[in-house]
């Protein structure tokens, strides 16, 4: 589904990614771990198409097509979703209207009719229950005055609504207490199937107890220096990153 080859990216003149290789197939869960400043968030932002990063070398293939020249919304329309580490607050636009607009823009881009009000409501009901969300939240301004945990839950709610092919969860566990973490992880697990894929970016092993990865990659100084199974996460938790070179 996603194939990244020798990816180099920089912000202004600082090189951050220095030759990343990564392949994710449908049905898989991958985790990327690594110390602060290793380039984890940059990698997710570059896949999602944030224009503040400049791709200098390499390619990003999504379903065998190069997406590195596409705008963020075009990548979203193809089915790439990124849950933000710091979701933005947008006063004056309710969550519900925001997600309706997002869904219908994606449908429009893919040549589909807008979702009917009935189907939209049905989907909202189903997905908000999945994440144990109080539906009152949905009519409030997007993320405004939400706690860190509420914002993250809202991200996963949007993911559920959009039904992406590839979901990138950037530090989704930060700011969540253990109960919220379980709800969010449970939601993600229920959304997982053999046709979609998940890339989890995290500092800590804790989230991976709930969202179990098939592969764990260690990103350090802009490169993936080690890849293993889920047990690698435990090893990293115990030993830190310094033993890896």
């Amino acid at each position: 589904m996603l194939k990244i080859t020798n990816l180099h990216a920089q912000i202004e003149n600082t090189k951050i990614l220095k030759g990343v290789n990564l392949e994710i197939k449908a049905g898989e869960v991958h985790a990327i771990m690594g110390p602060n400043g290793s380039g984890k968030s940059t990698l997710s932002a570059v896949i999602a198409g944030n224009e503040i990063y400049e791709v200098k070398q390499g390619e990003i293939l999504f379903e065998n097509k190069d997406i590195s020249e596409l705008a963020p919304e075009e990548r979203a329309h193809k089915g790439i979703f990124m849950s933000f580490q710091y979701p933005v607050e947008i006063p004056g636009v309710s969550t519900i209207n925001f997600i309706k607009t997002a869904i219908n823009e994606r449908r429009k881009a893919n040549g589909l009719e807008s979702l009917s009000a009935k189907d939209m409501l049905k989907r909202i009901k189903e997905k908000s229950e999945l994440l144990a969300m109080d539906r009152k939240f949905l009519s409030r301004s997007l993320n405004q005055g939400f706690s860190g945990g509420e914002k993250k839950r809202n991200e996963i709610f949007q993911m559920a609504m959009l039904e992406p092919k590839l979901s990138i969860l950037d530090e989704t566990d930060s700011g969540l207490d253990i109960d919220a973490l379980k709800i969010v992880a449970n939601g993600v697990n229920k959304l997982k199937n053999k046709n979609n894929a998940i890339l989890v970016i995290t500092h800590y092993q804790r989230l991976l107890d709930y969202i179990v990865p098939d592969f764990v990659h260690v990103l350090k100084d802009g490169k993936i220096i080690k890849t293993g199974g889920k047990e690698l996460a435990l090893e990293l938790e115990a030993k830190g990153y310094d033993w890896l070179q």
């Binding site: 944030n50 224009e51 963020p72 979703f81 979701p87 006063p91 636009v93 925001f98 997002a102």
Partner: protein, 438 residues
């Protein structure tokens, strides 16, 4: 002929043609105001209050000062300029001339009628003498010009303990295609003790002709009165407006003036609040969304003279292309005005590469036990928020529009008439090219 000379000639014509009662008090006020204008002329950029707004580009036209032939408008052609979804009183003027056909006035329990009749009819003499030009008289030469020519406009007097059952709409249409037109409406609004009124005002040109409106409104809110005033400014780019609104509030009264500036060539809003009593609440809200070479200048002033009063001011501006904004927010807290709460916020987003804003908060505080704050921000669109929305599949242009819409929303929320709120929301969505379901 230069405009000033033309106006001088016109004023003498007015006196000589017996159109005015030369012995009346009103005429004394007019003559004095005229002398003031004759003496000072139009303001220039040397005047501190007009430093950023030059009138040059609109004064070099050969304006018709007294349009006389009446134009008839069909309701169906102008309906869209009214908030027609609700029942309302209406005062409609076409090229400065009252249109009884489009209007809906009343003298039952209250007076919602014409300035011209109030000025002539002896029944109103006591009230006119007591209020007319008593707060507008301290202002500049351009206000004096209006006073000198003041003959027509809205006269609204709400006696005490009256809740006006429906809003009042004051609309000035201009229609003359062939002529450049100068209009000088004059409104007087008196709201007595415990009374409540909502007013919507609009100036609308229906032709491509050049129009200049020099409008003056005096509003008197007596004890515990509540006044909500809305100004819709969405005129053609050949129409300019100099609006001067003066408000005097007595104790426990609450007045809000909301200004929505989306159009016109040059728009100057001079808004002045005088608090004359304790526990007064004054609210000033505004949204400006303009582009091309349009200019909107908001000059506001709040005079806190008594203890325990409040003022809340929120102005938002979005400037595209090579448009220009001016915000000057004066707040004066006299030393007697202890326990004043005065808040001012002015936020601007410049989306045009050549757009400019001149923003000047001006707080002068002479009391020592007060809460006064002001915030002034000038920025571009938040890139992080844009990326967030694009990531969810919302195209960049839509995302920009949505963010701008969200930016102006705090002011829209202040509108207390639901149908007007929905109209303003639509106007903003149209201006920003966003889908209205939001």
């Amino acid at each position: 002929m230069k405009l000033k000379e033309k106006l001088i000639t016109s004023f003498f014509e007015l006196e000589n043609e017996g159109m005015l009662d030369l012995d009346s008090n009103i005429h004394k006020i007019r003559s004095k105001a005229f002398a003031d204008f004759e003496n000072k002329g139009f303001p220039t950029k040397n005047d501190e209050n007009w430093k950023y707004t030059s009138l040059k580009s609109i004064l070099n036209n050969d304006y018709t000062v007294f349009p006389n032939n009446e134009t008839v408008l069909e309701l169906k052609d102008v309906k869209k300029y009214f908030i027609h979804e609700i029942d309302s009183y209406k005062l409609v003027f076409i090229d400065g001339v009252y249109s009884s056909f489009l209007s809906d006035t009343t003298h039952e329990r209250m007076d919602i009628c014409l300035m011209s009749s109030a000025l002539k009819n002896t029944k109103y003499k006591i009230i006119i003498d007591h209020y007319f030009n008593t707060i507008a008289n301290r202002s500049g030469s351009i206000t004096s010009l209006n006073t000198a020519f003041s003959r027509q406009g809205a006269y609204i007097h709400i006696p005490k303990n009256t809740i006006v059952p429906k809003p009042i709409q004051i609309i000035h249409f201009s229609t003359k295609n062939e002529k450049e037109l100068l209009l000088q409406p004059r409104n007087l609004i008196i709201v007595d003790e415990n009374s409540h009124v909502q007013i919507i005002e609009r100036h609308q040109s229906l032709s491509d002709a050049i129009v200049l409106t020099n409008s003056v409104t005096e509003i008197f809110a007596n004890k515990r009165a509540i006044v909500d005033y809305y100004k819709i400014q969405n005129d053609t780019e050949n129409a300019s407006l100099i609006d001067q609104t003066f408000i005097q509030q007595k104790k426990h009264s609450n007045v809000s003036v909301n200004t929505f500036s989306f159009g016109g060539k040059l728009t100057r809003n001079h808004l002045e609040f005088h608090q004359e009593g304790e526990r007064i609440d004054s609210n000033l809200n505004g949204i400006t969304i303009i582009g091309n070479k349009q200019l909107v200048d908001n000059h506001t002033a709040v005079f806190h003279k008594y203890p325990n009063c409040e003022s809340h001011e929120l102005y938002k501006g979005i400037y595209a292309d090579a448009s220009t904004g001016v915000f000057n927010g004066k707040v004066i807290v006299r030393k007697e005005a202890q326990k004043t709460n005065a808040f001012q916020q002015n936020n601007t987003i410049l989306i045009g590469k050549k757009a400019t804003i001149n923003a000047k908060p001006q707080l002068e505080i002479f009391a020592d036990d007060v809460k006064c704050s002001h915030g002034c921000t000038i920025g571009q669109l938040d890139e992080a928020a844009l990326f967030y929305m694009q990531q969810r599949g919302i195209p960049k242009k839509e995302a920009q529009g949505l963010l701008l819409y969200a930016f102006s929303n705090a002011v829209v929320e202040k509108i207390k008439i639901p149908e007007l709120k929905s109209r303003i929301t639509k106007l903003i969505a149209m201006k920003l090219d966003v889908n209205y379901c939001l």
